[in-house]
Symmetry: C2
DNA sequence: TTTATTTTCGTGCACGTGCACGAAAAATTT
DNA sequence: AAATTTTTCGTGCACGTGCACGAAAATAAA
């Protein structure tokens, strides 16, 4: 459409054709004010007449500001769920390092809202050009989001998302659907009358975190079961991640009481907590479905203890978030879609390579 | 590790500390010769002493050359396999357009090696800075790859790969494994004695293309079947994509002769060719497994005609290829791994969204 | 009309690198 | 030693944009 004939159009070209100086063109390009209505209109017209597009390189070179993309995260051990988020963020950081955009991570204690607020303050002080924001404590996340909005700093939700429309983008998983899919994979090709019952293993957690996305997943799961296996019993077992011994004992007693049940599911990312029990009580007909590609889960999958993992490329979420922000910083481009739901990947022992 | 204290190190800094001019530093940075051994060593030393890293923006700004990334592709109709490759390539193109790197596609007729050679010549004439190269005609692809090597132009294989180590990178699928996985998904939770037989639908194709990657997939499939269902019969049916009527008739006669068979598989990307027959002869117990996320396949999946699709994110392959090449052009960085095998995605009707 | 104030705009340098041109230094030939 | 060739190197401009400084023009106040 535009004339591709030769050279790129520069600010100087626009200036000449509009009969002003490049300084003035620059002013309208950046809405910096101090331009008469008449010149502005003329310049605007010339700009899209020529199809002017700014030169990213020259722009970044001239603009000395050092950009920082920040992320606030629970201080997690390795191979935790949040560690995946972190890895993706850092991967993105490496990618844009040569673009002169730095990344910074602000950690907090996931059992202390106080520490979250503190980390949030530090994040604000670092004056970032963009923020990756996985919601944890609902209210405090709101507060932080508002503070960012106020300063005109774009923030991207990952993992889950608050009811807030001021965000720059969102990368996460369709939680409800993932539960639905989970139920399907758990019961695939199992006739109705043959399904004796299902065990849902859950975690005793303190209620600090006001919003737990896996609850939606649970709804999806229960809805599927109600639809296709209405008479199937759903048993809940609450375990404590800190006490593996107890877990194994609890499972033992449960299965002694319900020998017919061979379908197990966990809605959070810690299905690997069952590994000990499962490996000590092998059963070829058992089906175990879990979530998320933690290393421990992956190895449980490849050793056959877990049948299927449903993954959401947790690391890709934060990676995409970083890239979207850097694209905005560099090219002033927004992502195609504001809310991006990741694909649900089905992992079995046969396709875990190259994930 | 390096001192982050303040400013970025520039060529001028290096020059001063090495006691030379920036021109000389530039010469060693680009291996342009004309530098005495002594100065060179000194400069090299200073460079990694200071941890100098070139400024991408300044570099690209100063270097006026217009970069082109090219791709050579079969001239395909929409919703063909190659169309996915093309989409990914173009997507990558949009992404780097603002970086002043253009993309160009050279099309050829997939039934004419002659046209491939012609397109290859044109590609060379366009003097690209990088090439995305899906092998088709084996020998001619070799010839082209050699020509590129000779000119120092990096080329990236996608889809499949020749036995050639001069390539810059490779993005493709583990074909053998995908066949293995396919067999598993086809027979999942089916007891040995219950499996009456399997139908493999294949395509009569002219043998122009000397290398057909789906043959590897077939081996993987057969190996799995031989291992887990040694007595299961594998039937082959050859159809002509140009003659849908014949296809339907062939399928009808086949299933009249083998009423017990309900497991169907296709190794190429055209499982949608079976849609007509399948929709006219519904059978809830039938299992159909195919490959690749063509639009037509996707809709066959979501309408329940096809049970499972194994996908390799064909578009991501060429997309990644473009990004890898642009990263090399801009930042002189090579991808982490030379040969990259894509993940095999398992698609069912429940997780086709957001793919 | 003159002066003060505000609005509008032009000029010019800086950003860090690539590269051409030609000068200086070293090596070779005469 | 002088002249010539080759090697080595320094200088300076260009790339396109951002922004500060101050000048010019327009407007308001005297």
């Amino acid at each position: 459409m535009e004339e591709e004939n030769n050279k790129k159009i520069t600010i100087a070209d626009v200036a000449k054709l509009a009969g002003v100086s490049k300084g003035t063109v620059d002013r309208v390009l950046h809405d910096r004010g101090g331009v008469s209505r008449k010149s502005m209109e003329k310049i605007r017209q010339v700009i899209d007449e020529l199809g002017y597009e700014p030169n990213v390189y020259a722009s970044m070179l001239a603009m000395r500001k050092e950009h920082v993309i920040a992320c606030i995260l629970p201080d997690s051990i390795k191979d935790d769920y949040w560690y995946l988020v972190r890895e993706g963020f850092e991967k993105g950081g490496e990618n844009i390092a040569s673009m002169n955009i730095r990344t910074r991570i602000f950690l907090y204690d996931q059992y202390s809202p106080e520490s979250f607020r503190k980390a949030g303050m530090q994040l604000l002080e670092s004056n970032p050009s963009g923020v990756v924001l996985p919601p944890f404590f609902k209210n405090d996340t709101y507060t932080l989001a508002n503070a960012l909005s106020l300063r005109g700093i774009p923030y991207v939700y990952v993992d889950s998302k608050l009811e807030d429309d001021g965000h720059f983008a969102y990368y996460g998983m369709p939680m409800y659907k993932s539960g639905y899919l989970c139920a399907r994979l758990l019961t695939l090709r199992v006739p109705q009358k043959q399904l004796k019952g299902v065990l849902v293993v859950r975690i005793i957690r303190d209620k600090m975190r006001q919003s737990d996305p896996t609850l939606n997943r649970r709804s999806g799961f229960l809805d599927y079961m109600a639809e296709y296996y209405p008479s199937c019993g759903i048993h809940n077992l609450f375990i404590d991640p800190q006490a593996p011994k107890d877990t194994e004992r609890q499972l033992n007693t449960f299965f002694k009481a319900h020998p017919g049940i061979r379908h197990i599911v966990m809605f959070n990312s810690r299905v690997h907590l069952l590994s000990d029990y499962l490996s000590r009580n092998p059963d070829p007909d058992r089906v175990v479905v879990g979530f998320d590609n933690l290393e421990k889960n992956i190895s449980a999958l490849s050793s056959g203890l877990v049948s299927v993992l449903i993954c959401q490329h947790t690391d890709l979420q934060s990676y995409n978030a970083v890239m979207a922000l850097s694209d905005y910083i560099i090219k002033h481009k927004r992502p195609e879609r504001k809310d991006n739901f990741m694909h649900m990947d089905i992992l079995t022992s046969l396709n875990i390579d190259n994930y």
